[in-house]
């Protein structure tokens, strides 16, 4: 049960692991961290100092000083006995994860959830050597940075037990996250597939010369993208059909034939990753991106993102 989770192990403390650890600390948990990379602890301390103010802004009432309730350890194995939840963030290599999960499963207490941040590998790919309790392993895939973006994709493998799924969902929810349940392992899970869908059409339109890369971004940020932080594709469709439970079907009937026409054209011209189209795409994108003021852009993005998150606590 998530109420009993007091101590979390963070296995692998790169960009994702550091952000998870910040969030766990901000929520008052004890965090035991391991990462073999030289200087990982120093890097984490700097990351925590920098991230703390934005976590404070988002969560409201936090102590001013970054939490200190964490510990870096060279070997996690002897410490797993203390741990109530494991969040793994190692490299996405099958052999590496097979070995690692075998060890984690062998030494974690019974019933402790072992969640992997893996964005690519489904857990069925690396539980083969787990002899104790493979049913407590699943994916808990966050969006970068996990301490700010609420989405967590929870992806069980076929043998993950329902109780473990419930515990993981409740734990992430208790952290203020918005976990969604992916019922079947599919490549890319859900959010990355939806991003891939829009990206593929974007690459197609730019490489066909239909629109400049800059205007393509504007077509999203000044148009449908404004809504997608508030209403997802399904509710947006329903509102386009006049709202209400019937709105979705109304829109589908009214626009269906037109949409199928667009889809046909999209399929015909889909981005095929050929050298020719890749170089057209990269040339158009290059023109645009060399003119971007990156530090100003990321500053504005972070500020808008924090305001947006604060303005929609219940959405």
């Amino acid at each position: 049960m998530s109420q009993q989770i007091r101590t979390v192990a963070v296995i692998g403390c790169g960009v994702i692991g550091m952000s998870w650890a910040c969030l766990f600390l901000a929520k008052g948990l004890k965090v035991i961290i391991t990462d073999p990379v030289e200087g990982a602890e120093d890097r984490f301390r700097r990351y925590l100092d920098e991230a703390w103010p934005s976590i404070q802004l988002q969560l409201g009432s936090l102590q001013q000083e970054p939490a200190k309730n964490y510990e870096f350890v060279a070997d996690i194995v002897p410490r797993l006995i203390e741990v109530d939840f494991i969040q793994e963030n190692g490299p996405e290599r099958v052999e590496f994860k097979q070995e690692l999960f075998k060890t984690l499963d062998q030494h974690a207490r019974p019933g402790v959830v072992i969640a992997s941040s893996s964005s690519g590998l489904p857990s069925s790919a690396f539980i083969g050597q787990c002899e104790h309790e493979p049913g407590r392993i699943l994916i808990g895939h966050p969006f970068n940075p996990p301490h700010l973006i609420p989405l967590v994709e929870v992806v069980p493998h076929a043998g993950t037990t329902p109780a473990i799924i419930t515990t993981a969902m409740a734990f992430y929810r208790a952290l203020g996250k918005r976990p969604v349940l992916i019922r079947k392992e599919v490549p890319g899970f859900v959010a990355n597939r939806l991003q891939a869908a829009i990206n593929a059409e974007a690459y197609s339109l730019i490489s066909r010369g239909v629109i400049s890369a800059e205007d393509l971004d504007t077509a999203v940020t000044s148009g449908p993208g404004l809504r997608w932080g508030v209403t997802g594709p399904i509710v947006t469709n329903a509102l386009g059909g006049g709202g209400g439970a019937d709105g979705f079907n109304t829109r589908l009937e009214r626009l269906g034939p037109a949409i199928r026409g667009w889809e046909k054209d999209m399929l015909e011209h889909r981005f095929d990753w050929s050298e020719e189209r890749l170089s057209l795409l990269k040339a158009e994108v290059g023109n645009y991106l060399t003119a971007v003021n990156w530090s100003e852009l990321t500053r504005q993005r972070d500020s808008v993102l924090l305001q947006l998150l604060k303005s929609k606590p219940n959405l």
Copy 2:
């Protein structure tokens, strides 16, 4: 030149026409409106009264009382001599628009832009009978509601003159809109195609039972959708590759092979509009939408949207 545009004709005053007219009025323009529907003028007055506070919120300093500088006319033809810009919002039927644009082109002053709000028909489909100046006709496709959402897709036909494109872009920009130029007529233009891309994958995942309709929406609104109001697909990709002008290519090289794998699976399972998948989709969506509190949702959406627009004046 957009500086000389003082009087705008709004041809067709349904949902889109009403919203355009509100925006033109808020920007101090005189608006001459025609719509054959019984009660159109009363309906517009009510719409204007309701929309004015949110326009005020967005634009800052507006007079408290809704502008009165508009006129409904039964026949626009004798008034076209007064008009500096025409925004057409009639029904999307080819024969209807062919006839209408013939008349507008015949009576509008030389050099006056005739823009159609058409979301589906490209202007090449309905300029065939324009004998005077078809080169001043183009699409100016807004997003609903045009008085709030900045995006306008400007879509010339092959014969639209460069000067007219420049005038239309400058006029929309002067209204506070973010016009983008679609260089070639493609079905659905750009923003609707990008929406169709994400919708198609959403329908596929829901009808395959991979995710519930509610969780699908959350996967967008709590994940990538949070960013799309601020950074478009291209800049988001570049930031995912570490930012900077090289970030886009870095991401493409690092994730390209994985993305191609997702695309393969997406193509294999794409939503085919079969009765079977449609009914699975509708059943899942129905479960979700019957539980939505629509009035609360739209209130929250509008409030978040206004805050978001105010928080990113330069993005």
